[in-house]
C-alpha cells in the first residue's frame, strides 16, 4: 500500500522536475513543478474530439493503457513492504501487462488512419519489442543472484556483498534507467519536446487524443516513470533502515532519477531513428554481461 502511495505521490512531480532541470540548464525561467499537473487538470475540464475514422478501439485504448499502468504499479514493493499484488513471477505479469496497454495504444493510433500516427505506432511497436529481452535478462540475472522470482523477493534479497555485486547493481541500474527512457519514449530514442511529427514516437501516436483520454495518457506516462523510479529505489533501499529513512531515500532517488533524465536530455542529441534498434539491443547486451557476472557471483562459473 505504501509503495502505491509513494508512486502516486512521486508521479505528481516527476515530470515537473525533469522540465525544471532542463529549464535550469538552459538558463530559462522555470515553470512550476506542478505545471504538468495543472495541464492535466485543465484537460479533465475539457470535452473531446474524436476522429470520424476511429472505432471503439480508439476510445478503449487510453483507458486500458492507464489501467494497465495503474495495475502494474500495484506490483512494486517498497523496502520490506510487499506490493499489493505479489506472486511468484509477477514481473512477467508486469511486463506483459504493460505490453497489453501498449498493444491497445498502438492499434488505437492505427485506428485514426493517419500517416503520422501509423509512423508513431510502428516505431513504438518495434522499440518496445526490442527492449523486452533486456528487461527479462535483467530480471533473470537478479533472479539468479537472489534465487527469487517476484519483485518483492528480488529486492529484499539483493545483498551487496562484493565489488562484483556492485558491478551487477551498476549495470542493472544503467540498463534500467535506459529501459525506463525507452519505455517512456524519452531521449535518446524519442524527443518529447520536439514539435516535429515526423521525428516523434510517442507524442505522434496520441496526436488525435484529447480531453479526458489525453489526460489519462499523460498520467499513465508519469506513473510509468514513477514505477521505474521505484524499481531503481528498491535496488538501493535496505530493509534494515527505518521506514522514515526509507521514504527519505526513496524520494531522493526519485528526484535524482528525474534530474538525471533532465541532464541526459539537455546535453546529448537524440539518436538517428534508424540507429535506435541497435542502441536498444545494446541494452540487452549489457544486461547479458550482468547475467554473466551474476553467474560468477553464484559460483556457476568458477574461475581462479
Amino acid at each position: 500500500m505504501i509503495s502505491l502511495l509513494l508512486i502516486l505521490l512521486s508521479s505528481l512531480f516527476f515530470v515537473g522536475i525533469i522540465i525544471q532541470t532542463k529549464a535550469k540548464i538552459a538558463a530559462r525561467k522555470m515553470p512550476s513543478i506542478f505545471q504538468p499537473l495543472s495541464d492535466v487538470i485543465r484537460l479533465f475540464k475539457k470535452g473531446a474530439i474524436y476522429s470520424s475514422t476511429t472505432s471503439i478501439i480508439f476510445r478503449a485504448a487510453p483507458i486500458v493503457y492507464f489501467s494497465s499502468v495503474l495495475i502494474a504499479a500495484l506490483f512494486i514493493p517498497f523496502g520490506g513492504n510487499v506490493g499489493l499484488l505479489s506472486f511468484y513471477g509477477d514481473f512477467v505479469f508486469f511486463a506483459y501487462l504493460l505490453a497489453i496497454g501498449k498493444f491497445l495504444m498502438i492499434i488505437a493510433a492505427m485506428d485514426t488512419g493517419s500517416g503520422f500516427e501509423g509512423m508513431g505506432a510502428n516505431r513504438e511497436a518495434l522499440y518496445s519489442m526490442l527492449v523486452e529481452p533486456a528487461f527479462f535478462i535483467l530480471a533473470g540475472s537478479i533472479a539468479l543472484f537472489t534465487n527469487n522470482v517476484s519483485f518483492q523477493e528480488l529486492f529484499s534479497n539483493l545483498h551487496i556483498v562484493s565489488s562484483l555485486s556492485y558491478s551487477i547493481s551498476v549495470a542493472s541500474i544503467y540498463v534500467l534507467i535506459y529501459i525506463a527512457l525507452v519505455e517512456n519514449s524519452r531521449m535518446p530514442v524519442d524527443d518529447p519536446k520536439t514539435h516535429l511529427e515526423l521525428t516523434m514516437v510517442h507524442e505522434v501516436m496520441v496526436l488525435d487524443n484529447s480531453g479526458f483520454d489525453l489526460a489519462l495518457i499523460h498520467i499513465a506516462t508519469w506513473l510509468k516513470f514513477a514505477i521505474y523510479g521505484s524499481i531503481l529505489a528498491n535496488f538501493l533501499i535496505k530493509n534494515t533502515w527505518s521506514i522514515y529513512e526509507q521514504i527519505g531515500v526513496y524520494f531522493v532517488i526519485q528526484i535524482a532519477f528525474a534530474i538525471i533524465v533532465g541532464i541526459l536530455e539537455s546535453f546529448k542529441a537524440r539518436n538517428k531513428m534508424s540507429k535506435n534498434p541497435q542502441w536498444i539491443i545494446m541494452l540487452s547486451a549489457i544486461a547479458v554481461v550482468s547475467f554473466l557476472t551474476a553467474l560468477i557471483v553464484a559460483h556457476k562459473i568458477i574461475l581462479n
Binding site: 562484483l164 539491443i281 547486451a285 554481461v289 554473466l292 562459473i301
Partner: protein
C-alpha cells in the same frame, strides 16, 4: 577487483560492436589500455618496482596514450572519414558479441588448471575472436589496425593468465608486436593516405542508401 575490470572490458567490446565512429574506436582502445592496467595491477601479488614501471609503460603509456595518440594522428593526417560503416549491420554485431562473450565465459569455466588465472580467459578469448570479427567486418585499413589492436589486447590478457608473476618476455614480445604493427601500418597509411582516401569517399557515397 579483477572481475570488475573484466566486466568493464567486456562492456568495451560491446561498445566496439556498437560504434561506427573512428574516433570512438580510438577512445575505446585507450579505455581498454587503462582497464588492462587495472587488471595487471590488481592481480599482482607483490609489486616490484621494475615490474611496476614496466606495466605502467606498457598499459598506460603505450596502450592508452601513445597508440591512441598515434592513431589519432594517422586519422587526422589522412583526413579519414568519421564513420566506418561495417559490412554486417551493427544490430547483428551486437548480438554476435553477446554470443562471443557467453561462449568465452563458458569456455574459460571449462579450463581446469590451477596454474592459470582462468578469469582472464573470459574476456581474452572474446577479445581475440571479436578482433578477428572486427577486421572481417570492416573494409577500412584503419579499422583493421584497430581490430588488430583488440586482438593484441586479448593476447596480452592470455599472457597475464598464463604466468603467475609477470611474464616479462611474453609482454616484451607483445609490446614489440604492437610497435611493429603500428609502424608498418602507420607508414603504409601515411603513404597511401591520399589515393586511399578519395577511393573511400566514393565507396561511402555508394554505400549510403
Amino acid at each position: 577487483m579483477n572481475f570488475l575490470f573484466i566486466i568493464i572490458y567486456a562492456i568495451t567490446l560491446i561498445y566496439f560492436a556498437y560504434s561506427e565512429r573512428v574516433k570512438k574506436f580510438v577512445w575505446l582502445l585507450s579505455v581498454q589500455g587503462f582497464v588492462l592496467f587495472g587488471m595487471v595491477f590488481s592481480s599482482l601479488k607483490e609489486i616490484e618496482i621494475f615490474d611496476f614501471i614496466f606495466i605502467l609503460t606498457e598499459t598506460i603509456l603505450v596502450k592508452s596514450i601513445i597508440v591512441p595518440w598515434f592513431l589519432n594522428r594517422v586519422r587526422k593526417h589522412n583526413g579519414l572519414k568519421r564513420i566506418h560503416e561495417p559490412s554486417i549491420p551493427v544490430f547483428y554485431s551486437v548480438i554476435i558479441v553477446i554470443l562471443t562473450l557467453i561462449l568465452s565465459f563458458v569456455l574459460s569455466n571449462n579450463i581446469l588448471n590451477s596454474q592459470m588465472h582462468t578469469q582472464f580467459f573470459t574476456v581474452a578469448f572474446a577479445s581475440v575472436i571479436f578482433g578477428f570479427y572486427f577486421i572481417i567486418n570492416h573494409k577500412n585499413i584503419f579499422s583493421h589496425l584497430v581490430g588488430y589492436l583488440i586482438i593484441e589486447n586479448g593476447i596480452f590478457m592470455i599472457s597475464l593468465a598464463v604466468g603467475n608473476t609477470m611474464p616479462l618476455l611474453v609482454n616484451l614480445a607483445v609490446l614489440l608486436d604492437i610497435v611493429l604493427g603500428i609502424l608498418v601500418l602507420g607508414v603504409f597509411l601515411n603513404r597511401v593516405g591520399n589515393t586511399f582516401q578519395s577511393d573511400e569517399i566514393n565507396q561511402l557515397t555508394e554505400l549510403k542508401d
